[in-house]
Symmetry: C5
Subunit: 354 residues, 5 copies
């Protein structure tokens, strides 16, 4: 199951700006891919050294540097040196449990997003941090792990079709944001399917597993919520902010992403409402079942306990029990007991138990 808190405590006591990666370290090498494009030209390379990026820095073309696996502290340090970023940004890139935020440093904007992904089937949702740094003619995106959300974007750039190659770095940053938010819809749909499956299960045959699925759904929605709510503010800040890095035509598109984010939040809240309602339904169907069980027990016990008592009476060994001598005693008693059963039945029907 997804960890709730990352081990941020390793940083307590260290001076601010100290670069420590708090996620799980992996053995693999970080991957740096650079795309440099304008309307006419397009270059794509995979680098081993971040320093080589600077070769693209002075051109008028837009440079997109995509770094996967940010756990390498030295790499992040070098990026900071090359581009002259504030040390707190570098710290935030490595502290991969940031909540989404945007910070305006004048010459560049620093945006933190959270990418959502499903852990296989029904196995919970986890979120990974994506940092985007937008400069005047470059965009640097840093992902905690390679997750392929930007693949279609890269394809669109390669093909050269559409608006994208004609527009600046701000449009590229928007496109990255859009790709992340579009991905939320994929996750939401999976959640929606689980909600609907749960609803059906609840009507047909609620089991304790239903309950645990409700709990898991709630947990997952809490994780999504933590990623999406602050994102709304981030995009609103980008759209309305007074930075000159984002052009007015791009702001129209940002408004569109904003609407999508609000849509995601809306849908999420709807799911939350529905899942809360389901818990009530589950609990009351459990207590309804208990009721049914108890009714069966009570009917059986109420009918047979008195009868058992009666036959017990005539099983006593008293010397002088006149009824035992009667010729029709036995059949008379059977009839009498039949009468009791009938009376009970009438009573239960009046009480609407049967």
């Amino acid at each position: 199951m997804t960890k709730l808190v990352k081990r941020r405590s390793v940083k307590a006591g260290l001076p601010p700006g100290t670069l420590v990666y708090i996620g799980d370290k992996e053995a693999e090498q970080a991957k740096i891919s650079v795309i440099d494009y304008d309307e006419n030209e397009f270059h794509e390379r995979t680098l081993s050294q971040i320093r080589e990026c600077l070769a693209f820095a002075n051109k008028t073309a837009v440079t997109w540097v995509d770094v996967d696996l940010v756990h390498q502290v030295e790499l992040i340090e070098k990026i900071g040196e090359c581009y002259g970023f504030h040390p707190l940004i570098l710290e935030d890139i490595l502290n991969t449990d940031q909540r989404p935020k945007v910070e305006d440093f004048g010459e560049y904007l620093y945006v933190v997003l959270r990418m959502l992904a499903c852990n296989g089937d029904n196995n919970g949702i986890f979120s990974e941090q994506i940092s985007i740094i937008l400069g005047s003619n470059y965009v640097i995106s840093l992902q905690e792990r390679e997750m392929g959300v930007f693949a279609s974007l890269r394809e669109r750039l390669r093909s050269g079709k559409g608006r994208m190659r004609k527009l600046g770095a701000d449009y590229l940053a928007y496109a990255l944001l859009d790709a992340v938010v579009d991905n939320y819809f994929v996750v939401l749909e999976k959640i929606g399917e689980r909600v609907e499956k749960l609803e059906e299960q609840l009507v047909s045959s609620p089991t304790p597993d239903t309950l645990h699925e409700i709990h898991k759904l709630k947990r997952d929605m809490i994780i999504i919520r933590k990623s999406v709510w602050p994102l709304r503010e981030v995009i609103a800040a980008l759209e309305r902010g007074d930075t000159s890095l984002i052009s007015d035509s791009t702001r129209v598109y940002l408004r569109d992403v904003y609407d999508h984010t609000v849509h995601v939040i809306d849908t999420l809240e709807t799911f939350r409402d529905m899942v809360s309602g389901m818990l009530d339904i589950y609990l009351s169907s459990v207590s309804h079942r208990l009721n049914e069980v108890m009714k069966v027990l009570t009917i059986i016990a109420t009918i047979f306990i008195p009868l058992t008592f009666i036959v017990g009476v005539y099983g006593m060994n008293f010397k002088f029990m006149p009824e035992l001598e009667w010729h029709w005693g036995y059949p008379a008693l059977l009839l009498f007991m039949l009468g009791i059963v009938a009376g009970m039945m009438v009573y239960f029907r009046k009480k609407r138990w049967i």
Copy 2:
């Protein structure tokens, strides 16, 4: 049952502005009906090509283009070309799960509404998207499905009575809004009837079906809520916005629609409160019933179990049991047991169980 989420994921990875219809595609042809009117003249036609609309564009008269079945991507594309709409608008028209919103593009306003409809009797509520584009002398309304809410409006235009023919396109747009909100009252009334029926059921004979009806009511109200809450903001934005497309006299009418929307929200919240209360009542009536059942069981068991023990005692086959030899043993025992029953009865009455 209504789907909770539309399949928006088909769009993930596509560039913004790509036109893909995300609803269920239907075989039928889209219907384009055009009404062109001013105080004196009135023309009504059904077109097969959107291009023919432009014939009406230059006149001073108000042109109302009503398009049903928006699922045809090419049609929407052509509308965009003819009138020069922003690609994001066209995308929103086809993404038929938008939340209500208004966007001001200077020369035209784009409004998204959600129309509510009942799925037969008690079979849940679904919502369809209606897009309205208001220009200086035209209104384009695009419905996901033909639902007849605008029929009476068309009739009023034809008859030529009332204010409508004398006023501009903004009044027409208001009238469309008003028709949609008036329709909410129809839906609310149905909900209200269901709430009252539930209330009666709850008092007379709560069953597990009551519970599922509560759940369905809650679900339906969540759907209505999702449509109505953002609508309030939309109408407020229209009323207070600084667009020149809406005249001051129309704004007075918009304030009236705003009041209606607030009224709808108010009533909805009242229903929500009541339905929440009903769940509590249901749950506690279920547990009250359990109590009743248990009391009957306990009374029966508490009376007869000890008696059965006693008769069991005298059913033992010990050689030496003096009581069995007594002449009055049997009737004495019967009396003794009668005494026990009486004592139990007193105890239960003291406990207020019977």
Copy 3:
């Protein structure tokens, strides 16, 4: 029981401003009473035609027109004609399920209030609409039904004592508002008494009726809430609004009504909190009772079921059961069973069940 929604749907499809009364129509004639007063003079008449009101219109004295039973569409139409009111106002007067609001039309203010009344003893609360139109020297009040809240006000005007006769139409409008809000306290007191009665019942002997009374109380409070919350905004808008129809000295009094309204809301919320708490208490007292019942059952069953087994053993008809032949077998067994009972008792006491 009070209807939750009025049949507003009859209006769907009609053009805005169409006058249709949506409440229950009654056979009686509307009652128009006019009071015309200034510091020195006082005239009171009951009119049959609204047109006669205009005779008072040009004087400097304050004219108060009070119309009961607003269901007559023609009457409202004539009032509109005489005074030149906006058609939307006339529509709102007849749509008697408006939420409280104030609208400023420059020359006159339109205020909608809701009057609360109890339906006999414990039989629920209903609300009726009161419309007040305040002009420069006239006040028109329109009540859905005659309810007598303004009787004492009329008396004060007749007697000529106090500030009222010296002040303008705005003070009269304030006095009407104050009479309505004062009446809320009467309703709240009744609610308070019911809450206290419930509390006592809950401690002494909770029954399912307690539950239904809680439900009815909640329902009534929802109705009051719907009337009072928007009223607060209405009075705040009147107090702070920049209309010239209300003088500064009257605004001080409006602030006082505002305080009263806040007080009503406060008390209502307190009641809501308490009634919510009561439901919890009720539910847990029900489950406590269940517990008690189950304990009795368990004690009885746990003691006697094993004993019954034992006596069953010695009721068997095996040929060779040595114990049956023993002389002291029977009393020994009785002693043994007594020991079991004692052991059980010790166990139950340890468990704190008895």
Copy 4:
């Protein structure tokens, strides 16, 4: 128990400004004590007539008039005449269920507070109204009942130590406020003790009394809440208000009282959270107990009911039952039943019931 609503309905229908005391009238005479002081002089008197206060009015010294038992309508009327207060203030003084508020009348400020007091041990909390009128060189405090909160203040004035004698009427008003808020901490501490006692009880032995104590605590906290939440706004209004009656140096002290009020609210909300949690704990401990009881019953019944059946079989009087004739039939049966018991035990242990 404290009444929830005062009988304000006696006022419905009376003109605004009518002076009627709505609390319980008491036989005693009102007490008027006057303290007149500046840095050098100090006079203290108990008056019988409010008119005598005016003797102090023209001096530069600060005059503090403290009136206990405000139920005497004539007294309040005379105060109003002497000082020329607005009639609505006099009405508010007598309507002793006001919510805390401040009103600025230019020459004087009118502040309403609520004093909290405990009704003996664990017997609920009630609140009394304190009105404070702050003029340029006088402070009038009016208490519903004599409660001694100002005793230490009076002592400090008499002793002449500290800042108080050197500062103006606004500092005196602050000191009164501070005394009231300090008293809240005393009440909160009692509440805190009750919360902690409840917590212990809940862990050791929850009884239905625990539930009623929770209910009483909640009720008391609702009453405190009603007094404290609006007080915060009152003090904020005093601190930030633009009245010239309060000097800047006193505002620093008001900020301190404000902090205390926020602290009171914070602590109260913490208690509320905890008490809500306790209800959950209580309810689940009740249902846990039910579980325990049911388990015992089930274990006993499940073991002995089948055994009783078996011994019943061999108690039948069929002529031809071969087992009865077997020599080892009886011990074999006993062994068989022992086996059943052992099997059951294993089953229960697997289910973790024993």
Copy 5:
């Protein structure tokens, strides 16, 4: 367990500014340590008299005075005298249950924080007050108890590495804040571990202890909440405040601490949501268990009670019972009873009980 309220009542009635320590007094001597540093120089001393601090006051270097154990009233009084602090500050330092706040006195800022610490393993969390006074070239920190959070800071100052020695008193104050907030993450991680442990326990084997652990977790989170929520406002006020004591470069760092605080709040709220969900899970798993227990009881009772009745019938001693004489009576009856058991089994399977 941590006390919920400190004994603030000892202060009721005392004049504002009176210095009384409200925590538990301890025997130990207060510890005063002074660090005086600039880029080049570094002095560290432990003082016995606060007066000696003033020796450092006039230098341009930054002076950090750290006082542990603030319970000594005379010490605080002397600090007040030396630096000329407002008496309300001194009072707040000693009233160690303040909520976090910042007060700007022009020449110095007074900040109150709360430090969190765990009481051993799982034994609850308590919070201690830390006061920080920031002047132009000094920082005074006052801790209720020595807790070592500033140890690493002191170490960094000693080593002279990093930014810290080069920057002013405001950066030092920031560093203190940062150390406190970093420490929150340590506490949060412990909470997170407890939440995860609880979740596992809930799935595998919920016991009443689980419930008490949930209660304790909630309690601890309430305490953390009380410390962290107001801290957010404090840091926001510092960052945006218009004091000249904090330089712009430090404000960037404060924004970083602000982000951390929001992160802490976010995580805390996530935990709260999860723990609330757990309670529901616990309650419903308890009622599920009850259901299971009841089913077993019902199955056993429903099968054997009728059978016991039947064997009881043939245990009766009637003279004339023909069945008893039949040769195959006994085996026939056994078969008949087997049939009943089989029928029951089918019924239970249909009901999905087994």
